[in-house]
């Protein structure tokens, strides 16, 4: 029961913090909603409200080209009172979503899948935080708080992803597929997590009891479930919207073709502003291919740690997605402490964190100089998003290095603690 007390305290504290911030600074949510670091065209709460307005007046929400989010969010949000006049219910709702996410994280952590799986058991598995600490780390991360207060709809994608992970590590592969289907329905890119997730489910199943028939048929079965889930959600959406083509082109088409180049913390917008239009399709393909390419390589190389592959892929998405925001980074940061046992092996944590801190401070400053003071220009902000991505990349590369090193030490016990050089 002691743990439950702690958990209750952490969750209560996180809820209280969010509501306290809302009460103390009533203008904070609107400020954060307007920040490009928090809200992207595909997750912005402002745009959601616009869609909601059209939806409640029986106009297609995709008219006007502002709203680009999944239609199922609309009936959900139309149940809540207007966020402009009554901000509290929405804030409570988002805070609860955060708590739900934190709960999923705690489940993932408590399963111990991060340190020992079917094929692999980390050397330093005694160095770890318990689920409550990891949940607290997630809940009190300023990025998570900012995302929550900024009411970005990215939190629902986070929920889908975290729940698919937590179902997978507890052996509930059906729920994992459904949750991943939900996340992929909201935004396309979580579908890339399918293969490592199926492997995780398969390992879990194989570890638990009887070995399933074969990995291929297992994967195919689950792929079917995944597809059915998405098809079902799309079906409901078509019932809601009616016009299939408009809906698809305004949501998935928008996410795939990246027509809105509003600045964000990612790398795409500046590139596609600068590029000549004739090369646009080519580079769109290249960028997407690049994003997708990591999945195969990481899955093969780190086959023994599928959860780590999933975590690293989330880090890669946070860097290379077309519309990334700090909510993606916060999801990656949420999963990192699961690998607390790798921290002693990491080499550049301080530099990566310093770079991220610098970017966090300089980003808004340069955005201000560019947009408000008029004394800077787009290059200022883009330079900072480069630094931000660099920080994330260093962190990512460093964790992958640490994981590989851990595997290597596991395989070569006689060389533990020796300096090795890759040639």
């Amino acid at each position: 029961m002691g743990v439950d007390h702690r958990k209750a305290a952490v969750f209560g504290g996180a809820l209280a913090l969010r509501l306290l911030l809302l009460v103390l600074f009533p203008s904070l949510p609107d400020l954060l909603t307007g920040r490009v670091e928090v809200s992207t065209p595909v997750t912005s709460f402002k745009r959601l409200q616009e869609g909601l307005f059209l939806y409640t007046r029986n106009v297609s929400p995709y008219d006007g080209g502002v709203f680009h989010q999944a239609p199922l969010l609309l009936p959900l949000f139309s149940l809540l009172p207007n966020a402009q006049s009554f901000p509290l219910p929405t804030a409570v709702f988002y805070s609860l979503i955060d708590l739900v996410n934190a709960n999923a994280l705690a489940t993932i952590s408590d399963s111990g899948q991060a340190v020992s799986g079917r094929f692999y058991s980390a050397l330093r598995k005694h160095i770890r935080w318990d689920g409550v600490s990891i949940a607290a780390w997630f809940l009190f991360n300023p990025f998570t708080v900012a995302t929550c207060l900024g009411r970005s709809t990215g939190v629902f994608i986070t929920t889908g992803i975290l729940y698919s992970f937590s179902s997978a590590v507890t052996g509930n592969s059906l729920n994992a597929m459904l949750a991943l289907g939900f996340a992929s329905y909201l935004s396309i890119y979580p579908a890339l997590l399918f293969i490592p997730l199926v492997l995780l489910c398969y390992d879990q199943r194989a570890q638990k009891a009887k070995a399933p028939s074969g990995v291929v048929s297992f994967a195919l079965q689950h792929f079917a479930i995944f597809l059915i889930c998405i098809a079902g959600l799309l079906g409901v959406s078509i019932l809601l919207i009616g016009d299939f083509y408009t809906f698809i082109s305004a949501t998935y088409g928008f996410q795939l073709l990246v027509p809105d180049l509003t600045p964000n913390v990612g790398l795409w917008w500046y590139f596609f502003i600068e590029i000549f239009d004739s090369f646009r399709e080519f580079f769109l393909g290249v960028f997407w291919l690049h994003l997708a390419a990591y999945m195969g390589g990481l899955t093969v190389r780190l086959r023994r740690q599928p959860l780590f592959v999933l975590t690293s892929l989330l880090g890669i998405f946070a860097i290379f997605k077309p519309y990334p925001s700090i909510s993606d980074a916060s999801l990656y940061f949420a999963l990192l402490p699961l690998y607390r046992h790798l921290f002693p092996l990491m080499r550049y944590t301080f530099f990566a964190i310093s770079a991220l801190l610098y970017a966090t401070l300089l980003g808004p400053a340069f955005y201000h100089l560019w947009i408000y003071a008029g004394s800077g220009n787009a290059n200022f902000f883009y330079a900072i998003t480069l630094v931000w991505s660099l920080g994330l990349s260093i962190l990512l590369a460093d964790t992958i290095f640490a994981a590989l090193r851990d595997e290597w030490e596991h395989d070569n016990p006689e060389l533990r603690g020796k300096e090795v050089r890759q040639v």
């Binding site: 330093r124 002693p344 530099f351 310093s354």
Partner: protein, 902 residues
């Protein structure tokens, strides 16, 4: 075999290159170093290295003999230096390896530089009667090539091209000719004389200059050069015999592989250079002293950088970037009959003022009463302009500021009301004087401008009652950002393109115009606006201009520096220096023109200046954006731009980051003598109990597989973050209490600053008993955050970042004094001294000292600051209380820990 083939072939293997470079003998290294140093020296502009050290035939004399030795080290640029270094290194290295370091020194410092130079001077001066200066080590390159060629000639006299046999000794001549053709600005004659001396050297005629071996041996033995100098090539270790004994075929046979002579310097350090090895062997220096040195250098460099800025080489002449402005290109017609109008308006306003006095007040009442407001409105109405009023009321530190703005709009005959220019004439100037002439002039100009048909932008005339709050209320309401107690504007125009404020607070004629340009939070107007004003007043109207209250600016270094400093102080404090400052946050460029002195310029001259300025602004096709927004002005026509001055603040901010990073590394990699004996003992015990288990790493100070010590972050993180949040409390207090309590609050905060760090130190050291590592981590995090904030701030408000960086500089160097290396008494004395010093630099004490220095009241300053926070949106307080103060408290607490450590 041609000469170049006798050289070691380019080793493409990187590891070979590395080992080659690492094995370079001493003299070669020194020469390369000297070349590098001289090349770096050429970057400064105070002292022309080339002029100093080159061989100039005309200047040959006894006083300039040194040139004969210095010229080979000096180069004309990067590529000159690089190419020569690339050519020289293998040759010189080989020479030194063959003949020993001492011989090489003796020859190259002596005859091998002076002889070619001498020949060159003789020929150039007395034969050719020219005076071309030469520099560069190519002299040595060709000299050595010449001697190598002779050697090759002895073993391999000819190479044949078809039937012709070409003697190999000519190869340097070909090379010389080729270089003269291909590379511009090379001295053919210089190279030729070098080759000549090289031949002499190769043929052994220069033997006489070589010091006898006995002497060399004696020197070497007496001074123990071999033991003292790294990479020294001894007399005995040289590859070949005494100089003059040219390599015979047998010795040549030894040199089978081109690099085999490298073996001769086997004794020289096995792999790494001495410096790196030394550093590695001395982690205490690497982790403890080096960062302090680096940080200190950063701070000094930052300050020196700033001091260099007023020099001509680092500042620039101002210029107009925006072509549309065309300053002073139009004739200003405001004159003659308008003066009568001016007098008439002035009389009317004076009558109103006189009427106010008759109402019973004993002294002249110059308040902006409703009667004045009505009079201004009636004049505007009579002119036929649209006008409106706006009431506002601000309350700050218990003082209420209220008033009524009157403004009117001239609608542009040729515009579509999408753009506007603002002319502001406040009833009270910045110094709280009655601005009667200014207001009257603005009214006259309103009437005058109304009759022109050339305006393409609306012109707004604004008459606020004071220079502090009125403009702010108006501009906020113009953008619908006004607080509840400020009325919205009933009448509006388009986007504001520029603002001008007129101040003419006295009755006599004026001499010059003083231009104010600093905005709130250190924002500045576009430099083009300032330049236009200077160009029109100075160039077109012939009126002098001043800035930053520098009345007798003689353009000397000191005056320039003082102007910059005054500008930086204003920018750093971030308060509004005039009504124009309120425009800046909305990205509207504005300046104030103040009349100063007693001269012969009248109100008409000021009117024409304003007219011309308005005409220039009227020309604008787009918002002012061309010129600089970040600059430091040192004179009305000289400035430094951000690229030049920013490094100085960044260096100072960087010093904190350097320290933070090295402290972080130190906590992980180098326990050093920071580890108290008890701690290391307990670590050993733990290690003993947990030898065969792998959970050694869990014990905090235990190095793990990678020799990284696990860090305990919870306490340092909580402390540092907590202190930053704690800063909100003084921030709230100093902005919200009544103005009467400000002095009390200041003294209380000094007392609190004295106690709080000690209290923190006492509680933490007795309650939690932190490890030595955690003290370092506290400092690391605190400095990291300080560095982060200051470098971010430097991009927004350079001066504030610079000033706070300087005031925080000691925080890089204060530490907890280790209880185990110092005696108790000494520790107490040192800690008390440190605390006393730090307390002198606490925010509150600095505030008091600054007030004393400038001779102002603390209460006034703090009331003004709170007003700035409430009305203008000044952010300086946030920086002081949430960046500077927390860092300062953690620094003090660190020193305080040394008083309490057991």
């Amino acid at each position: 075999m041609a000469t170049p083939a006798a050289l070691p072939p380019l080793p493409f293997n990187p590891s070979r290159v590395r080992s080659y470079v690492l094995r370079l003998p001493l003299f070669t290294r020194l020469v390369l170093l000297a070349i590098l140093v001289f090349w770096l020296l050429e970057f400064q502009t105070m002292w022309s290295v080339v002029q100093w050290g080159s061989v100039i035939p005309e200047e040959a004399g006894f006083g300039t003999m040194y040139r004969l030795n210095t010229y080979p080290f000096i180069h004309l640029g990067f590529f000159h230096a690089l190419l020569n270094v690339l050519a020289l290194t293998p040759l010189l290295e080989r020479f030194e390896a063959e003949h020993g370091t001492l011989t090489a020194v003796a020859l190259f410092i002596g005859p091998l530089s002076t002889l070619p130079a001498g020949i060159y001077i003789l020929v150039e001066k007395f034969v050719l009667h020219r005076n071309t200066a030469v520099v560069g080590s190519s002299i040595w390159v060709f000299l050595l090539l010449g001697s190598e060629a002779i050697r090759t000639f002895k073993s391999n006299p000819y190479f044949s091209l078809g039937t012709t046999k070409i003697p190999t000794w000519t190869s340097p001549l070909f090379a010389c000719a080729l270089v003269s053709i291909l590379v511009p600005n090379t001295s053919f004659l210089g190279h030729l004389s070098a080759i000549l001396v090289g031949y002499l050297l190769g043929l052994g005629f220069l033997k006489i200059f070589v010091p006898p071996e006995k002497v060399l041996r004696w020197i070497e033995g007496k001074l123990n050069l071999l033991g003292r100098l790294p990479h020294y090539v001894s007399v005995d270790q040289k590859t070949y015999g005494r100089y003059g004994v040219l390599p015979t075929t047998t010795t040549g046979g030894e040199r089978g592989t081109p690099m085999s002579f490298l073996g001769s310097s086997q004794r020289l350090g096995p792999t790494t250079t001495a410096v790196i090895r030394k550093l590695r062997n001395n982690p205490h220096f690497l982790f403890v002293h080096l960062p302090h040195i680096l940080s200190f250098i950063c701070i000094v460099a930052g300050v020196v950088w700033l001091l260099l800025l007023p020099l001509n080489d680092y500042s620039r002449q101002t210029y107009i970037s925006e072509n549309a402005l065309l300053p002073g290109q139009v004739h200003a017609y405001f004159s003659g009959s308008e003066q009568h109008i001016f007098r008439g308006y002035k009389k009317e306003l004076e009558d109103v003022l006189a009427g106010q006095t008759e109402d019973g007040q004993e002294r002249r009442n110059d308040e902006f009463t409703p009667a004045v407001s009505d009079k201004i409105q009636s004049i505007l109405k009579a002119t036929g302009l649209k006008f409106a009023t706006q009431n506002y009321e601000y309350t700050s530190s218990g003082i209420t500021h209220q008033g009524q703005n009157v403004y009117s709009i001239i609608q542009a005959p040729r515009g579509d009301a999408t753009e506007a220019i603002v002319l502001v004439a406040a009833w009270k100037t910045v110094d709280d004087e009655l601005n009667l002439n200014g207001v009257t002039l603005a009214l006259t100009l309103a009437r005058y401008f109304k009759r022109w048909s050339l305006w393409s932008k609306d012109i707004i005339f604004l008459f606020p009652p004071d220079s502090k709050a009125g403009t702010q209320a108006w501009i906020d309401a113009y953008h619908d950002m006004q607080p509840a107690f400020v009325q919205p504007l009933p009448l509006k125009s388009g986007a504001l393109q520029g603002g001008l404020v007129i101040e003419y607070p006295f009755d006599h004629r004026f001499e010059s115009l003083h231009i104010l340009h600093d905005g709130v939070n250190g924002q500045l107007p576009n430099l083009d606006l300032f330049n236009t004003a200077v160009s029109i007043t100075g160039g077109q109207m012939g009126i002098g201009t001043n800035l930053q209250e520098m009345w007798d600016h003689d353009d000397s270094y000191e005056m320039r520096l003082e102007t910059i400093m005054r500008g930086m102080v204003k920018q750093g404090f971030g308060y509004a220096t005039g009504p124009h400052s309120s425009f800046m946050p909305y990205h509207i460029d504005a300046i104030t023109l103040q009349t100063k002195g007693d001269g012969w310029q009248d109100e008409m001259a000021l009117g024409r200046t304003v007219e011309s300025l308005c005409r220039s602004l009227n020309n604008l096709l787009e918002h002012l954006h061309q010129s600089f927004f970040f600059y430091l002005l040192m004179q009305t026509n000289r400035f430094v731009s951000i690229g030049t001055y920013l490094p100085s603040a960044m260096l100072i901010a960087g010093n904190f980051t350097i320290m933070a990073i090295t402290l972080w590394l130190r906590t992980g990699y180098y326990p050093g003598n920071q580890q108290s004996p008890q701690a290391s003992k307990s670590t050993k015990e733990q290690a003993a109990t947990a030898t065969d288990k792998r959970d050694d790493k869990q014990s905090p100070a235990q190095p793990d597989a990678n020799n990284i010590i696990e860090r305990q972050l919870a306490l340092p993180l909580t402390l540092v973050v907590g202190l930053h949040l704690l800063g909100l409390i003084p921030l709230y207090i100093f902005n919200n209490i009544s103005h009467k309590y400000y002095p009390t609050a200041t003294y209380t905060s000094i007392l609190a600053n004295l106690i709080l760090p000690l209290l923190l130190a006492a509680i933490l050291s007795h309650g939690l008993n932190p490890k030595p590592q955690q003290y370092l981590l506290i400092k690391s995090f605190s400095l990291l955050i300080l560095g982060l904030f200051l470098s971010t701030l430097a991009t927004l408000n350079f001066s504030l970042s610079f000033m706070i960086g300087l005031l925080c500089a000691p925080l890089s160097f204060v530490n907890r004094i280790n209880p185990h290396t110092n005696s108790c008494l000494l520790r107490y004395i040192l800690a008390t001294l440190g605390l006393a010093l730090l307390n002198v630099l606490s925010p509150s004490v600095v505030l008091l000292a600054a007030c004393k220095y400038f001779g102002v009241d603390v209460e006034t300053v703090l009331t003004q600051a709170a007003f700035g926070w409430d009305v203008w949106g000044v952010w300086t307080q946030v920086v002081v209380w949430c960046v500077w103060w927390p860092a300062w408290v953690s620094g003090c607490a660190l020193v305080g820990f040394s008083l309490f450590s057991s």
